[in-house]
């Protein structure tokens, strides 16, 4: 009886495990398939950025970066084509082009001389070999003057990052620890600014910066407002400060530290993960910022950031797909690299603002 029982138990267990294994395989394969489709454009971008210009616009060309092979004959260079003959497809070099018939040379048997072939050579595919155009990257870098765009973007990103993190952490501390009149109302207004369309404040701000202060074509209209913090960052930092126990601040105050001293030397060192997350958010925001630079820097191309520079490049060199994609790939490397290195802090920060826990 006992043996029978353990036997059915085993069978049940084996069945369950087998079902789990199948389910795991199915779910994982399904996820991989979705992922492949989802990331396909990224692969397309990288691979196409390594092709020659001719290949990018040729629908018959292979998927991988490849180049037509040439063959030198009597001092001249000729295209090697795939020629269908009675003995299968041969790789011959096209020497004399004709509408109905052409003359080829067989690289394997040059001594045989020119071979006549009937048919339209335009319908023949060239013989290709794997060839990566690494050269597209330095060419894109120089054509777009990437060093200057990068310099502008980094200058903007870092200056405003320090400004906004400093201002936001002050304000967040104020909201997290102090009671003052109309605190709740002000806090509501602050969150309300997140859903406020920026357009509604833009027109007078623009007129003020450009007409009255004469800041058109400079980065100042974008840098100055960032120095006063931003609601999203204030909210995130406030949530973090609320989790820090009050005892440490009280101890510091008993030791005679003032409010600012307490904030700088007790609170900030404990909030490094949140400060890092906010700094990263701001860095990515600045790296992507488009509308502000577009309107304020109009007329001063030297001040352009990567986003606006890439857009102009795309308009001017729209036929140079391989260069545009190379520039696009260059511009996505820094954010992706930072994300892969710092994903834990980063993901934590996103989750804090959106999930009720």
């Amino acid at each position: 009886m006992a043996a029978l029982q353990s036997n059915t138990w085993n069978e049940y267990e084996i069945g369950r495990r087998r079902r789990n294994l199948l389910l795991t395989a199915a779910v994982t394969l399904f996820a991989l398939a979705i992922l492949a489709i989802y990331l396909m454009p990224m692969a397309y971008g990288v691979i196409t950025s390594l092709k020659s210009k001719a290949q990018t616009s040729d629908p018959g060309a292979p998927v991988w970066p490849a180049e037509a092979i040439k063959f030198s004959y009597e001092g001249e260079s000729y295209d090697l084509l795939q020629v269908p003959t009675e003995s299968g497809i041969r790789h011959w070099a096209l020497v004399k082009k004709g509408r109905r018939a052409s003359q080829f040379i067989d690289p394997a048997n040059v001594a045989a001389g020119l071979i006549d072939w009937e048919g339209n050579w335009r319908q023949l595919q060239p013989v290709r070999e794997f060839a990566v155009q690494w050269d597209n990257y330095p060419r894109a870098w120089n054509t777009i003057d990437f060093a200057r765009l990068l310099g502008n973007t980094l200058m903007y990103a870092f200056i405003t990052m320090f400004g906004t993190v400093a201002a936001s952490s002050c304000a967040a501390y104020g909201f997290a620890r102090f009671n003052f009149p109309f605190k709740n109302l002000l806090f509501m207004i602050m969150i309300g600014t997140i859903v406020l369309p920026p357009a509604v404040t833009l027109v007078p701000t623009y007129a003020f910066f450009v007409n009255i202060l004469g800041w058109g074509g400079t980065w100042l209209p974008l840098i100055v407002p960032a120095m006063f913090g931003n609601a999203y960052n204030i909210f995130l930092l406030r949530q973090y400060f609320l989790t820090i126990p009050r005892e440490m601040e009280e101890a510091a105050q008993i030791d005679g530290a003032g409010r600012i001293r307490t904030f700088v030397s007790v609170i900030l060192p404990q909030a490094v993960p949140a400060l890092t997350a906010v700094s990263l958010f701001h860095f990515f925001f600045a790296w992507n910022d488009f509308f502000g630079p577009l309107i304020y820097l109009a007329g001063n191309r030297d001040a352009n950031p990567i986003t606006v520079g890439l857009t102009e490049f795309n308009g001017l060199y729209s036929s140079e797909t391989q260069l545009i994609l190379a520039a696009a790939v260059i511009s996505m490397i820094p954010p992706l690299a930072i994300f892969f290195l710092a994903q834990r802090v980063f993901i934590q920060g996103i989750v804090v603002t959106g999930v009720d826990k």
């Binding site: 795991t24 779910v27 994982t28 996820a31 979705i34 992922l35 989802y38 396909m40 454009p41 990224m42 397309y44 971008g45 196409t48 629908p59 201002a167 002050c170 304000a171 104020g174 102090f178 003052f180 009149p181 109309f182 605190k183 709740n184 109302l185 806090f187 509501m188 602050m190 969150i191 600014t193 997140i194 357009a199 509604v200 404040t201 027109v203 007078p204 623009y206 007129a207 450009v210 120095m227 006063f228 913090g229 909210f235 990567i306 797909t321 545009i324 520039a327 511009s331 954010p335 992706l336 994300f339 994903q343 993901i347 996103i350 989750v351 603002t353 959106g354 999930v355 009720d356 826990k357």
Partner: protein
């Protein structure tokens, strides 16, 4: 708590009495002083870059004011508003385009984010952490780079999307195939694809919310005989409604300002057949290239009113379908 729950909590705790502000004891007054000092960077920024410009923006809407000739500005009352609402067909066309796109793109984006989160939360998925990172990666690709890549992926001849569809037997490649960016019927789907590369945050928030659903609920449902789909519908979805609400509000606000994709792809000229004349594009053209500050401000204020209306509507109806676990109702 998430941002909108905190917003509600602050509304609940708000005391609007000015008199109370003057009835503070010495210690309370000191605390209030320091609180205001600490929030002063934000407070000053709010006054200078939100509050004042909003008021001035409304005043601008009452003027005929071209930036290049500020001396010729003249007061016209509600003329700009009348023109915008009654005369200018572009306003309504732009609103129509914006809402049409939102109605297509918003459900696709939100459902995709939710389903991907469910997939990434599955205990049957191998390498979950690596998968999560990889699914998030496209969100890190700068939008401009993403648009430039997608515009080539969607090329009817040489783009990989059509070539992949062709493999399944549907004729897609070529001039009579799927011309994603040239066909006014396909353009919104094409833009939605580009948008799907930006749903990483929504996936993460959904995922965090799914992880917070108590396992007892699933066990109880399973004892009651509920299958996977039934559990998803009756347990998972109600439990993640706060996150769906959060994503919904932010997506609506974002879509109202949809600008970069149509601007980068064709300079905001509405191609094909005016199907990409979004509201923000129209506002941009009036306010900046044409420098019509008065009319631009009117368009911006109208956008603000519409956005505010939708947000209030969402918050008002949210009470009926958003489930907050902490609340007893």
């Amino acid at each position: 708590m998430d941002m909108f729950t905190e917003f509600g909590a602050a509304r609940g705790g708000a005391r609007w009495s000015l008199r109370a502000a003057f009835r503070l004891t010495g210690a309370q007054r000191d605390e209030a002083k320091w609180g205001l000092i600490f929030i002063s960077p934000w407070l000053i920024g709010f006054a200078l870059f939100y509050f004042a410009p909003m008021i001035v923006s409304f005043l601008f809407s009452l003027y005929d004011f071209v930036l290049s000739a500020p001396d010729e500005a003249r007061f016209v009352g509600l003329e700009n508003w009348r023109r915008m609402l009654a005369e200018d067909p572009n306003t309504w066309e732009a609103l129509f385009v914006t809402f049409k796109f939102a109605l297509i793109s918003l459900p696709i984006g939100m459902v995709s984010a939710f389903l991907l989160a469910v997939l990434l939360n599955s205990k049957h998925l191998l390498g979950r952490n690596v998968m999560r990172t990889l699914f998030y990666a496209p969100t890190m690709v700068p939008l401009i780079a993403a648009i430039l890549i997608w515009s080539r992926v969607l090329n009817p001849q040489t783009g990989w999307l059509n070539q992949m569809i062709e493999v399944t037997g549907i004729q897609a490649v070529g001039m009579d195939g799927l011309r994603w960016l040239d066909d006014p019927n396909l353009i919104y789907i094409a833009y939605t694809f580009i948008g799907l590369w930006g749903i990483g945050n929504a996936i993460l928030i959904n995922l965090a919310s799914l992880q917070g659903v108590p396992t007892e609920l699933y066990e109880a449902a399973s004892i009651d005989g509920a299958g996977w789909l039934r559990q998803l519908w009756s347990v998972t979805i109600p439990m993640v409604t706060p996150v769906i609400f959060y994503n919904l509000v932010l997506s609506v606000v974002g879509l109202l300002q949809y600008f970069i994709v149509p601007y980068v792809l064709n300079g905001g000229n509405g191609y094909p057949e005016g199907s990409t004349n979004f509201y923000m594009i129209y506002f941009y053209k009036q306010a900046f290239p044409f420098q019509n500050m008065g009319y631009g401000a009117t368009l911006a204020w109208f956008m603000f009113i519409i956005g505010l209306g939708i947000t209030i509507f969402l918050f008002a109806t949210g009470r009926y379908w958003v489930y907050y676990a902490g609340e007893s109702k």
